[in-house]
Amino acid sequence: MTLTNFRYGDVIHRCFRCGYCKFPINWMDVNNCPAYARFRMETYSCGGRLWLTRAWLEGEIEWSDHLADILYSCTACKNCEVKCPLSFNIDILNMMIAAKSEMVERGEIPSAAKEFLENIQRQGNPYGTSREKRDEWMEGTGIEAYQGQEYLYYVGCVGSYDTRGQETARLLGKVLQKAGVSFGVLGNDENCDGNEVRNLGEETLFEMLAEDNVAQFQGLGVQKIVTLSPHSYNAMKNDYPGFNGVFDVLHYTQLLQELIRNGGLDVSGGYNAKVTYHDPCFLGRWNEEYDAPRAILRAIPGVQFVEMARNRNGALCCGGGGGNFYLDLLGGSEDSPARRRVREACETGANVLAVACPNCLTMLEDAVKAEGLENKLTVRDISEIVGEACVIK
């Protein structure tokens, strides 16, 4: 059986397997595609996936569980798009997502991806935890429900349900309270933002989530949104306008940078550590916001900031994108991208690895444990570092 609705049939052959898509911005390493880094086989690089997709398209190979795993191990980190020298690079990631869409339509996707999507259909989050528990993270914080405040604080699924994500969600809330920002949250009425749903190739479910969220936000009169997760930020900023949802969307690091700059947030409490920063793909490569998180860290007294060898648009993905924080197709090895990344962070001599994404936070924190680096390196979200610098307990 060949692919029936594949939109890129006339361009996919342009990939000539040069392999550039595996590099970071310079030639220091070939391991900047997280899936390739994990498996060290061409099949798991962007070029490999494109050739397999083309072979599937042309009927040379059949669908198999293995082919599905290879496609779904792409984390949608966009390194390949930045690095591929050909003009068709603007579509190479879309080609891989389109191949996943084809698998979604046939119903033939990895079982963890099935679970992920069905959980979202049913409970509005990938974990399958009840919608009625979405607001448990905010217990005792005094954070208000959204009712016309200046900002909607959109927390997202990881911040709402993951224990570690909840801690950052709470701290960001407290930081915003301390800065006197007028904001409210949706609590149990918040639904999945759909960013990963789109990356998993479930287009119609993504459309439904985007339409529902846009209608809900507009119904409440929301104009400005601040998000905890870069994944939500990306969907709301770049995709929701296609559903008539034009909002003023900020990632929280952008808002905090502004608050620190204009004196609205006092970080003079400081944070004494040697800190390096991991760029989340959906803030960095997807939205080219590299400066706000760095500016925040540099503004905090006591922070000694160092860069990792791979940074900004050459950063290595933590391996959690494309739903892989849940699918876990890249885990279980010392070559897992998150483990490679924490080793790289250690090489800088930093004792704190700062992140600005709850997915990166959980992925990298687990990697620190797996590597036995707990005594050398702590993973902290920037919201937590700022929280400490403005003396929030």
């Binding site: 979604v104 339509e105 119903g107 999507l117 069905e118 049913r122 399958g128 009840s130 919608r131 119609t204």
Partner: protein
């Protein structure tokens, strides 16, 4: 081969603490729960669709319930069922015998070689609806089917018993099977597929269309009360560094006389 798949919609109760008993004490509070297709019935539909893809014929999905139950039929239609019938009656609190009588009436109106049920439901879990319907229809049945291979006039099945023991049977058609999880890997039903299935016709029938009235159907068993299990002893969480927690745990086990 003509197949009828009988499926149902159940509340998602995977987290025990969201389940609460309603004031009637005969049901759980449902208004804030999410609903889904019964787990076993996903395997029923996958098995049915695979048979249809291999052998041709028709697949009809049947359910009994109010309007919201259409969603499980839409999934069946999206997966490849040719038609879907909903009997518009809330029988969720009724005893399986009443449900069996209604299903018998529906099934008799349709062409069939094979009738498929889930081995049990996630909510009430009685596990005997399929067998009852087979008895009323007067056709052979096998429960807990984990493997099946169909021929023109017979079907080879394997049943899974305790500890994975397998029993093999060859059964003449028409027959009824109750399907166990693990018989296949149910495919994902895309939202696009479900949206397209909205165009397909879904037949709604009432009890009187079947020549039945609820008053004339007397239950064989009656539910008296539903109750949550008594809270067990609180779990004890030991926290701290492994060097300390290991010692604490050893002490607890020793005090309990385990070693």
């Amino acid at each position: 081969m003509d197949i009828i798949a009988c499926i149902k919609r159940v509340p998602d109760t995977s987290e025990a603490d969201v389940v609460k008993i309603d004031p009637s004490q005969k049901d759980i509070e449902k208004d804030r729960l999410a609903f889904k297709i019964n787990d076993w019935d996903e395997y029923v539909l996958e098995a049915a669709v695979q048979l249809k893809e291999k052998l041709g014929g028709t697949l009809t999905a049947v359910t009994i319930g109010p309007k919201e139950w259409d969603e499980v039929l839409r999934r069946a239609l999206a997966m490849g069922a040719d038609s879907a019938i909903r009997i518009d009656q809330d029988v969720s609190a009724d005893d399986p015998h009443i449900v069996a009588i209604i299903l018998d009436k529906v099934i008799r109106r349709l062409p069939y070689d094979l009738v498929l049920f889930g081995a049990q439901s996630e909510d009430f879990g009685s596990g005997h609806l399929g067998a009852m319907v087979a008895e009323i229809l007067g056709i052979p049945h096998a429960t807990l089917v984990i493997n099946l291979e169909a021929e023109e006039k017979k079907i080879h099945v394997q049943r899974e018993l305790e500890a994975g023991t397998l029993q093999s049977y060859t059964i003449d058609l028409p027959a009824l099977l109750t399907i166990h999880t693990g018989i296949n890997q149910p495919r994902y039903i895309s939202m696009g597929g479900i949206r397209r299935a909205m165009q397909k016709e879904l037949q709604v029938m009432s009890l009187s269309d079947l020549g039945l009235s609820l008053d004339a159907l007397t239950p064989m068993v009656k539910l008296e009360e539903m109750r949550l299990p008594p809270k067990g002893k609180e779990a004890e969480l030991i926290t701290g560094a492994p060097e300390e927690t290991a010692g604490q745990l050893a002490k607890i086990l020793k005090d309990a006389g385990i070693f």
